[in-house]
Symmetry: C2
Subunit: 318 residues, 2 copies
Amino acid sequence: MKLNQSKIVDCTIRDGGLVNNWNFSIEFVQKLYAGLNAAGVDYMEIGYKNSPKLLKGAESAGPWRFLDDDFLRKVIPEKGHTKLSALVDIGRVDANDILPRSESMIDLIRVACYIKEVDKGLQLVQLFHDLGYETTINIMALSNVMEHELLEAFEMIKDSVVDVVYIVDSYGSLDYKDMEHLINKFKKHLPNKRLGVHTHNNMQLAFSNTLVAAANGVELLDASVYGMGRAAGNCPTELLVTHLKNTNYELRPVLQVLEELLVPLREKEEWGYNIPYMITGTLDEHPRSAMALRASENKDKVVDFYDKLTTPEVSFEK
Amino acid sequence: MKLNQSKIVDCTIRDGGLVNNWNFSIEFVQKLYAGLNAAGVDYMEIGYKNSPKLLKGAESAGPWRFLDDDFLRKVIPEKGHTKLSALVDIGRVDANDILPRSESMIDLIRVACYIKEVDKGLQLVQLFHDLGYETTINIMALSNVMEHELLEAFEMIKDSVVDVVYIVDSYGSLDYKDMEHLINKFKKHLPNKRLGVHTHNNMQLAFSNTLVAAANGVELLDASVYGMGRAAGNCPTELLVTHLKNTNYELRPVLQVLEELLVPLREKEEWGYNIPYMITGTLDEHPRSAMALRASENKDKVVDFYDKLTTPEVSFEK
């Protein structure tokens, strides 16, 4: 039986950093890398490669918010099987910060963008590609994209150098039928591109949608240990590792990481399924209103929250 | 567009009682019933109809463990749209306890059994059917059933009076492909029976598997508010109510129940996805060892727990 083509991209540090402002200790990241490597996970997204000069409030964030190659070499003196990945946002990356891949710890640079920025995203992709990196373009908020916008984006992407195109369920609002529909559309219009998927767990569908993607030929599967990620979090790495068929992943090293790092961290920081995130997911909108609610003293006032989001005449600070 | 045939059976009190020994106050149950009724939920399983005479340790349990019709009439003086359901276990029910339906508050009696007890289960079904009740037979632990056992059970069931046959994922180990496989088998061999599904959330697949079941024609969908149920819990009622297509359910009354009852209760009692339950789910076994771990001081020692379950030579008290 052939081995599954799936590759896991663990985003615990990068997406999880949105929970704790990237305040992971070096030891935490080293142990996580060792565990993921022992588990056979293919990529570890170790942070953002944005520039602190281009982002407000940068001072308080941990070093994984603005990765530096000299720093990374000290954190991970010896790389194993697991490759390193970094994410960049449009308008927040300084091309002068990026070393050629041959001089960098990073193997893969992923460009996150909304549908209207795909042209700008592909310019960055070209830059990183020319520097020798593997590249992806991650199209966010696909549940809010109109057909003609997507078709225009496909026209640009299919002639680009990008290696992998990501379907991103930013709002955690897609179910398996939506996922199959999107994958079929991407495969039809981008037959020469490999695909990736990034899910959110607002409706408890992150793992299921990722399995559906894998079964439909999507190759790069984003996940994070214990699902750590913004708001409702992501597809849990431990579930992919144990459940993907025809792969050689090992669960036990991920359990060690869970026991030593992520389960204790979850006692201090909040992420995962809860009702405000479920509400923004079912309404197919950004979780920022729910995140603001969870940070307030009214964090469990879900009926009032729902009424505000669903009553047009009530003004509401999103 | 035709309305979806799905019917939701909310099991918060019955399956959730396995978490708190059925110590729900009368007011809690009354408010839950009112909320489910306002939401349009079809059935509320309000407890077990077992006999305290046939069960050890019965004294400490709340009244929903052993439903009594006189008591129920006081709890719910006026029934709405939402029908009442009770579950019985083989060998724990006294036929003399069961009134004719015309004298009872209960509309539906469900018989839970393992595959080897289907004959005994169908005898109870016949009894309840003759008394006027709607009936189901809920075949537990289907992931551990061999093909020939299932085919023998189908032979008995197809000629029985039972209204609905349930696929029960007791260990939370099934994914959507397993679920589709089972549903197709049940439909092929029991073309004259309606189907139901009861899922567990060990692998974060309870909601997804229930959606797959609904899309494949399964009619009765078990759920519980906030997923409250033994160990990893069940498919959340709030997700079914908001997400099932072509239905007339209302989310807001479920949110009221969540805010007033279930979210506060979750602060005191534990259920839902965690790593020990994930481990028993992925190993396709009963969660009792994980429940014992969670009740011990070693509740987060997941590596040691995994080693004990996966190393044959280590004896382990399950």
